[in-house]
C-alpha cells in the first residue's frame, strides 16, 4: 500500500506486493523438515493460504444499483442539504454521498444480512434498539415514497428536489423534530427515517472514498483527518502542533 502517499504507486501493484510477501511466508513453512501444520482433518481450511486476502473493491461510480430515478433526485437533494456546498467543501451530492447510499443499500448493509432477523417482531423499548422487520433498503423505499407523498400534498404537488432550499430545510427539520409524521409502519417513525438518512450521509461523507462518498477526500481535508496513514511515531509527542501531511486513501490517493 502506498502509505507514504508520495510514490503514487498503482494500488494493484501494492496488493501484488502484499501477496508476494505473503507467499514468501508460506514458502518458509513448506521447507522440508520444518514442522508440519497441526491440522490433519480433511475439509478444514488451512490456516495460511495464498491469495486469501480480501481487499475491498472500490465501487463503480456509474449508474444506480438500488435507487430509482425519482429516489435518486430526492436523496441527492437531501444529502446536499445535510452537507451544503460552501467554502469548506463541496456539497453532499458532489461528494458522492447519494452514490454511497445507493451502493450500501444494494449490498449487505441494505439487506441486513448480518443481523438477527427472526421473528416474532414486536414493538420494543428504546433501550432495545430497532425491532422492525424492514431492512435499511426497505426503510428507504417506504420512507422516500411516503415523504414524496407528504411533500406533494403540502407543497402543491411538487417533488422534494423542486422545493427551495429553505423549504427543504423546513421539511428536514420537521422530520428531525418529529413535527412531520409520515405513514410508515410500526417501529419505524419519520424521525427514525431522518436519523437513518443522516447517519448514512455522514458515513458516506467521512468514509474512505472507495465506497463512493468523500470524493477527493474532501471531508478529510475539511477537518484535517489524515485518512489511511498508519505511522505517527514521529509526531505523537509533538504536542499542540499541527500534523504536516494531508490525507491518503486506501487506494493511494493523496492530498
Amino acid at each position: 500500500m502506498t502509505q507514504s502517499g508520495d510514490g503514487g504507486a498503482d494500488k494493484s501493484e501494492g496488493l501484488k506486493l502484499c501477496r508476494r510477501r505473503f507467499l514468501a511466508s508460506v514458502a518458509v513453512l513448506a521447507i522440508p523438515g520444518a514442522p508440519a501444520l497441526a491440522r490433519s482433518y480433511s475439509g478444514i481450511k488451512p490456516p495460511f493460504f495464498p491469495f486469501g486476502a480480501d481487499p475491498p473493491r472500490p465501487i463503480n461510480p456509474a449508474g444506480w444499483y438500488f435507487l430509482k430515478p425519482n429516489e435518486v433526485a430526492m436523496v441527492e437533494a437531501i444529502v446536499d442539504r445535510f452537507i451544503p456546498a460552501d467554502h469548506l467543501s463541496p456539497g453532499g451530492k458532489d461528494a458522492g454521498c447519494a452514490v454511497f447510499i445507493d451502493r450500501q443499500l444494494a449490498g449487505s448493509y441494505g439487506a441486513s444480512s448480518r443481523l438477527y432477523m427472526k421473528g416474532p417482531f414486536m414493538p420494543g423499548l428504546a433501550t432495545q434498539g430497532y425491532q422492525g422487520e424492514l431492512t435499511p433498503a426497505g426503510r428507504y423505499r417506504l420512507g422516500l415514497a411516503r415523504l414524496s407523498d407528504y411533500i406533494r400534498a403540502h407543497y402543491a404537488g411538487k417533488e422534494f428536489a423542486a422545493l427551495s432550499h429553505a423549504q427543504q430545510d423546513d421539511v428536514l427539520a420537521g422530520l428531525e423534530s418529529g413535527k412531520i409524521e409520515l405513514k410508515l409502519v410500526p417501529g419505524f417513525s419519520a424521525r427514525a427515517f431522518f436519523e437513518l438518512m443522516l447517519q448514512n450521509t455522514m458515513e458516506g461523507f467521512f468514509a474512505d472514498p472507495l465506497y463512493g462518498g468523500n470524493r477527493g477526500m474532501v471531508a478529510w481535508k475539511m477537518i484535517g483527518f489524515p485518512g489511511a496513514r498508519y505511522d505517527y511515531r514521529d509526531y505523537v509527542e509533538k504536542h499542540n502542533q499541527p500534523y504536516p501531511h494531508g490525507p491518503v486513501s486506501i487506494y493511494g490517493e493523496h492530498g
Binding site: A38, R39, I44, Y109, P120, T127, Q131, A207, R229, P242
Partner: protein, 588 residues
C-alpha cells in the same frame, strides 16, 4: 446419527485468548489438544492486511470482524417486568468471532485487578460492616491476588505489556500506580509515548493531589520477542486499534503472541467453522463425555474428549452450560441456584468533554491503550465510610483514535447538519479532549442470565436472555466519581466543558464496553458458584469454564488481564494436579 470421531485428550471450545493459552500450556504438557472454533481462521497477513485495515466503515461501523447477530444473538431487558427482545444488532457490547476471538479487536488495556477486588465481600464487610453492602450480592472469588500474581506476570510478559510498575515487592515506584497490588517485577516494556491530552490530564491530576500513571498497554512501545519466541513490532499509533485487527504485529493478540507457535505443534489441531451444539455427559451426569458440533458443511459430529474446556466469550459459555443442562439455573426471586447468577457489566457515564480554541490534539494519532489513568478513586482505594456507595472508578484520559464517522464532536447546541454544522465540525475537530471514568459493576439479585423463552438461533436453540440494569449503588458511585472528574477538567480551563451523568436504564444500542462478566462465577461455595477456584465445574469434574463468566462481580478496569491470568491459573492446576489425578480439585 452424529459422526463419531476419535477421542482427544483435551477438547477446547473457542480459540480466543483463553483457548490459546490453555492450548499452549496443555500441549506443552504433552496432551493431544483439539480446538473447535465457530468462526473462520484469521491471521495478520490475510485478515488484518495493512493495505486495507485502516477502513473505518468496514471494521468500526459495519463491524466486519465481530460476531454476526445472524449467527448468535441475545435478548435483553432491564428487569423482569419487561419482555426481553433480541438485540438485532450488537451495540452496547461487541463479541468477537473467529480465531483470536475478542482478543483480535480489543484495545489492549492490560490491567490487573486490585487485591481487595478478589475478596470484595469479606474486605468491605470487615471495613464497613455488613449493612453497607446489604443491597448487593457481593461474593469473594475464592482465589487471592497474591495467588495469581505470577499468572498476571506470565500474561504481561507473553503480551510484552508496556507500562510502569507502581509497586514492586512492596516498594512503591515513582510514576506507576501506587495503589496496585505488589508485583514481582517491572513490566517487560516501558510505557508508550504520551499524547498531549494524557500529559495535560496527568499534570492536572497531580496538581489536585492524585497519582496518575500510564495505562498498562498491550500495544508495544518497542520491538519485543516474547517468552515463546514470537517477535512483535513497535506500535505506530495508527488509530485503527479497537474494532480492528493490528496490521503491525504490535497489539498483543492470540495471533501475535501464541498461535504462530501453537499452530505448528503436532499435538494441536484447530477445526474452524465448526459450531458446538452441546456438551454431552456420561450417564452418571458427573463427567462430560464429548461435545456435539456441526462442521462447516453442517454435518453433525460427536467429538469425545477426556477433558472439556469451555473457552468462548463469557456470555456464550453461560449459554452453552444452559443448553447442555449443566448446573442449577439461578432464580432471581429466591436468590437460589448458580447458573446465570451475578451477571455484571461496566459502569459508565460521568465523563467530561473539554473544548479548547488554543489546543490541538491530533486525535488520529492513537492506540487502544494510549491512555493515562488515576486510581485514587478506584475500588476501595478511598474511604467509603461517609459515602453512600461502595466501589469506584478508574479515571483516565487518552486517545485511541480520531476516526471521523463516529468521532467528530461539536459544541453543545450545534445543529447536526447544514452549514452551521459544517463550520462547527471543521473548527472543532482536533481541539477536544475528554476525561472519563470506568466504574465497577457490582452484583444485585435481579441481574442475571437465562435462556429466552421465545427467540431461537439459526439452529432452533434458545438465545441467551440478559436481564440487567445498573444497580443504584453503582449509579451513586459513578456520579460521585464524575464530580471528581469535573474538578480535574475544570482545572484545565477549557473554553467549553460538558459533563455526563450515569443513569438507570441500560441501553443496548450505544457502545459502552465489551466487559460482560459473571453468570458462571467462581467461588468457594458450590451453592453460590458454578466453578471452583480453579474454574473447574462443581457438577462436572472434567469440565473447566474459562473467561469473565467466572467473575463474581466486575472491577472498574478492563477484564482481559484478569481473564488471562485466571487461564494460566487454571492451566497450572490442570497440568500439576488434574492430569495426575483426574477428579474434583476441591471437595464440594
Amino acid at each position: 446419527m452424529a459422526k463419531l470421531l476419535p477421542r482427544k485428550d483435551v477438547v477446547i471450545m473457542g480459540l480466543g485468548w483463553t483457548g490459546s493459552i490453555l492450548g499452549q500450556e496443555l500441549t506443552a504438557a504433552g496432551l493431544d489438544v483439539l480446538a473447535i472454533e465457530r468462526g473462520p481462521w484469521r491471521d495478520t497477513a490475510n485478515d488484518f492486511n495493512i493495505g486495507y485495515m485502516p477502513d473505518e466503515l468496514r471494521y468500526a461501523i459495519r463491524k466486519d470482524l465481530f460476531l454476526k447477530p445472524a449467527d448468535e444473538a441475545m435478548t435483553m431487558r432491564n428487569n423482569v417486568s419487561q419482555t426481553a427482545l433480541p438485540m438485532r444488532d450488537y451495540g452496547s457490547f461487541l463479541p468477537g468471532a473467529g480465531v483470536g476471538g475478542a482478543g483480535v479487536h480489543w484495545n489492549g488495556q492490560c490491567w490487573r485487578y486490585d487485591p481487595s477486588d478478589f475478596i470484595a465481600k469479606s474486605h468491605l464487610t470487615q471495613r464497613y460492616g455488613a449493612r453497607k453492602i446489604a443491597e448487593l450480592q457481593l461474593q469473594d472469588w475464592g482465589v487471592t491476588f497474591d495467588e495469581i500474581e505470577h499468572c498476571y506476570d506470565r500474561y504481561e510478559y507473553l503480551c510484552g505489556t508496556s507500562g510502569k510498575a507502581g509497586v514492586i515487592k512492596g516498594q512503591v515506584q515513582q510514576g506507576g500506580n501506587p495503589f496496585e497490588g505488589s508485583r514481582s517485577r517491572e513490566y517487560p516494556n516501558p510505557p508508550l509515548k504520551r499524547p498531549y491530552c494524557a500529559s495535560l490530564f496527568e499534570e492536572a491530576a497531580r496538581n489536585l493531589g492524585l497519582h496518575p500513571f500510564p495505562t498498562p498497554a498491550a500495544n508495544l512501545s518497542r520491538p519485543y520477542v516474547n517468552p515463546l519466541g514470537v517477535a512483535m513490532g513497535e506500535c505506530t499509533y495508527c488509530g485503527y486499534c479497537e474494532r480492528f485487527g493490528c496490521a503491525n504485529y504490535s497489539k498483543s493478540t492470540p495471533q501475535t503472541t501464541i498461535l504462530p507457535v501453537l499452530i505448528r505443534k503436532r499435538n494441536f489441531e484447530v477445526r474452524t467453522e465448526c459450531e458446538v451444539m452441546k456438551i454431552n455427559l456420561h450417564p452418571d451426569g458427573k463427567t462430560a463425555k464429548s461435545v456435539t458440533y456441526l462442521d462447516e458443511k453442517g454435518v453433525e459430529c460427536e467429538q469425545p474428549g477426556d477433558l472439556i474446556l469451555l473457552c468462548g466469550y463469557g456470555l456464550m459459555n453461560v449459554r452453552m452450560l444452559f443448553l447442555s443442562g449443566i448446573g442449577k439455573p439461578y432464580d432471581p426471586k429466591t436468590g437460589q441456584g448458580t447458573l446465570g447468577r451475578n451477571y455484571c457489566y461496566q459502569t459508565g457515564g460521568g465523563g467530561a468533554t473539554l473544548y479548547f480554541d488554543d489546543k490541538r490534539f491530533n486525535p488520529f494519532m492513537g492506540a487502544g491503550a494510549l491512555i493515562s489513568s488515576a486510581h485514587d478513586f478506584n475500588g476501595d482505594n478511598f474511604d467509603h465510610a461517609h459515602l453512600d456507595f461502595v466501589g469506584g472508578a478508574s479515571i483516565s484520559s487518552g486517545q485511541t483514535n480520531g476516526r471521523p464517522i463516529s468521532g467528530r464532536p461539536t459544541p453543545p447546541g450545534t445543529p447536526r447538519w447544514g452549514s452551521q454544522w459544517k463550520a462547527a465540525t471543521a473548527a472543532t475537530y482536533g481541539h477536544v479532549m475528554s476525561i472519563g471514568g470506568s466504574g465497577s459493576s457490582y452484583a444485585i439479585r435481579g441481574n442475571y442470565l437465562d435462556l429466552d423463552p421465545t427467540y431461537t438461533d439459526r439452529h432452533g436453540r434458545p438465545l441467551l436472555r440478559i436481564t440487567f440494569d445498573f444497580p443504584d449503588n453503582d449509579i451513586r458511585m459513578q456520579n460521585w466519581v464524575g464530580a471528581q472528574v469535573e474538578k480535574i477538567a475544570r482545572s484545565l480551563n477549557p473554553k467549553i466543558l460538558t459533563t455526563g451523568k450515569a443513569s438507570k436504564g441500560w441501553n443496548a444500542v450505544p457502545y459502552q464496553s465489551t466487559h460482560n462478566t459473571g453468570g458462571a462465577v467462581m467461588g468457594a461455595d458450590p451453592k453460590t458458584s458454578v466453578v471452583n477456584r480453579y474454574l473447574q465445574s462443581w457438577d462436572v469434574s472434567n469440565l473447566f469454564v474459562l473467561g469473565a463468566s467466572a467473575f463474581p462481580q466486575n472491577a472498574a478496569v478492563n477484564p482481559t488481564g484478569t481473564v488471562c491470568a485466571l487461564a494460566y491459573w487454571a492451566a497450572e492446576a490442570i497440568r500439576d494436579r488434574y492430569i495426575k489425578s483426574p477428579g474434583a480439585l476441591v471437595p464440594a
